[in-house]
């Protein structure tokens, strides 16, 4: 009989213990926050991201990642940032000329990659945004993209225990504000640094280029680098490259921002890092392959009043390249592919 009592007490104890361990899970200790180390090579341009305004922290980046893949930032809860910015394609909308948003509404532009944002001065194809902390407002509120608003997004996630915890971990308390959402998204985007391509390893003396790639890099320097300059392969200028005006989208690029005729059909020079993964190309995704892009520059550039002088040197419209040169340039462009960036689980949903 004594045995029986002991057993009963034991059983009760186990039961009680399991209850305690349950409640333990609810009051889990907060994830300790610390500064997030943004690592990048010494030859990268100076960081434009202002960490004094928005300190990048481990928990802030993690909150940003959750928000980046959060469908409830869109009107019907289905279109997260990650919907059009797919990691495997260097955060572009692979295969889609222009992006599809809420209710399958069609945007007017090809989703640009999200990489090395902390080093850029301007964002979007027309450079309308200058501060990464403000960038997400544009897709969240655009009627063809996520068609929502910051207050609407806040109202949908504010009672979610998961977010209460994440906001507390990132900001010290669980208050959800628009500024905090935007800054967390911005921290996540700042953490998306792509600097581990073959080209980078070549720069660091760790890997050799093939002879075709070396020819490509030399040709690129002669024919492309006046606009696609520096280690991010963009001078961040706006240029008219002699592309036809696409009446389907009625998008004249920088002109939409300035309404100044000199900006007609000028678009921001895009970075070429990971360009192999980001087809289709140009602001409206009109070209499906890198070959098509180079064929455009050699043969199809249309002369117009705004055509960039770089594309009309000595009276010749376009960039003179033969097909072998094009192949070499493409071989070089592929050395800008950063496999670890597109497969890093830290950036994944």
């Amino acid at each position: 009989m004594i045995n029986f009592f002991v057993k009963t007490i034991l059983v009760l104890l186990v039961f009680l213990l399991s209850c305690i361990s349950c409640s333990d899970e609810v009051i889990q200790p907060l994830e300790k926050d610390e500064a997030y180390n943004l690592q990048f090579p010494s030859y990268f341009p100076e960081m434009t991201f202002d960490k004094s305004v928005n300190p990048v922290t481990k928990n802030g980046v993690e909150l940003g990642r959750k928000l980046f893949y959060e469908g409830r930032l869109s009107r019907n809860n289905t279109i997260s940032c990650g919907f059009c910015h797919i990691q495997e394609n260097a955060f572009t909308h692979h295969g889609h000329t222009v992006s599809h948003g809420v209710d399958d509404r069609i945007g007017i532009r090809n989703a640009p990659p999200i990489q090395n944002m902390a080093f850029l001065k301007r964002y979007m194809w027309d450079g309308v945004i200058h501060n990464l902390n403000e960038q997400p407002i544009s897709p969240i509120t655009d009627v063809n993209e996520m068609d929502s608003s910051i207050p609407e997004a806040i109202s949908k996630i504010k009672d979610d225990q998961k977010y209460k915890k994440l906001f507390r971990e990132a900001y010290g308390d669980e208050t959800i504000t628009g500024e905090r959402i935007l800054k967390a998204l911005s921290q996540f985007m700042a953490s998306l640094i792509s600097a581990d391509s073959k080209y980078d390893r070549f720069k660091q003396g760790k890997e050799q280029l093939t002879s075709t790639e070396s020819q490509g890099i030399a040709l690129f320097g002669q024919k492309c680098a006046s606009c696609h300059s520096g280690e991010l392969f963009t001078d961040e200028s706006f240029r008219n490259t002699g592309m036809y005006y696409n009446t389907e989208f009625k998008d004249a690029g920088r002109y939409r921002v300035s309404l100044n005729q000199v900006d007609w059909m000028k678009f921001r020079v895009p970075s070429l890092r990971n360009v192999e993964y980001t087809a289709p190309y140009m602001h409206d995704g009109r070209f499906y392959t890198l070959e098509a892009v180079l064929n455009f520059y050699s043969d199809q550039v249309e002369d117009n009043a705004n055509l960039d002088p770089q594309l009309k040197q000595n009276g010749h419209v376009g960039i003179a390249m033969n097909s072998q040169e094009k192949q070499s340039i493409i071989a070089f462009l592929k050395t800008l592919s950063d496999k670890s960036f597109i497969s890093n689980p830290k950036f994944a949903e």
Binding site: T78, F83, H100, D103, D104
Partner: protein, 276 residues
Amino acid sequence: MKIYKFLSLFFIAFTLFSFVACESSRDDENPQDTTPGKLQIKFENGFNNVGDIVLNQTTQTSSNGQKHNFSALKYVISNISLIDENGNEFKYNENNPDKGAFIVDQADAVAGIIYLNLDGVPKNNYKKIKFGLGVSQKAYLLGQDGQAEFWTKAKQKGMSWSWAAGYVFVKLEGKYGNDAPSKEFMNHTGNMGNVTANQQADLYREITLNLPTTARVTSQIRPSVHILADLNQFLSGDKALTLATGNDMLMGSNQHLVDVTNNLTKMFKVDHVHND
């Protein structure tokens, strides 16, 4: 205390007896061997009157006169179940995408056929097969962690959006035109996340097909169910569809894609069953 002793003895005796009972029935009637078996499903995508679809090659003319071909042709099959002579249903990993969902991708076809292999199918004579086109809401709502394996697979196959939107159910891409297939089209069907909460159409469909020959699953016989999918149904199905600028680049579940889904739901038929 005596009663305990008696009870435990009784228990031991009973357990032993039931063991023996099992053993003997097994030994005596080998044909009644209940070891589960396997079943193979073959999907053959074609245009009924033209034959196997070769990506980027086979061109078909729709009932509305449009020439079209496919460069990508993929769909998700899940919730397969087999129905026996008495109407009993064996559900193969129901609402468990990691184990019970498959991607039929024409790019994987071997001599025109894509094979799905099912294990652990109870020995029985099956008269019908049922399967889902797409992923059911119930499975989707298990969450991303509840189907990490299939989600990754879908991602690699380009059959996923971001999680908030979910899976692509059917991916049809190719070219179309009046004289020749020249203009690109992309029709990607699939549910937009939680369809009830988001007030969206539910594109998941279940299809039941009769087997012309009974599929006799035993540990020895692995029947093979050969399913023909007639992609004519895409544009020339119950509702004849015409591709145009308004619907040639669509993804999700809007009305055109509901029509596409309803058409495709009718495209399957079991051509024959092998019992060997």
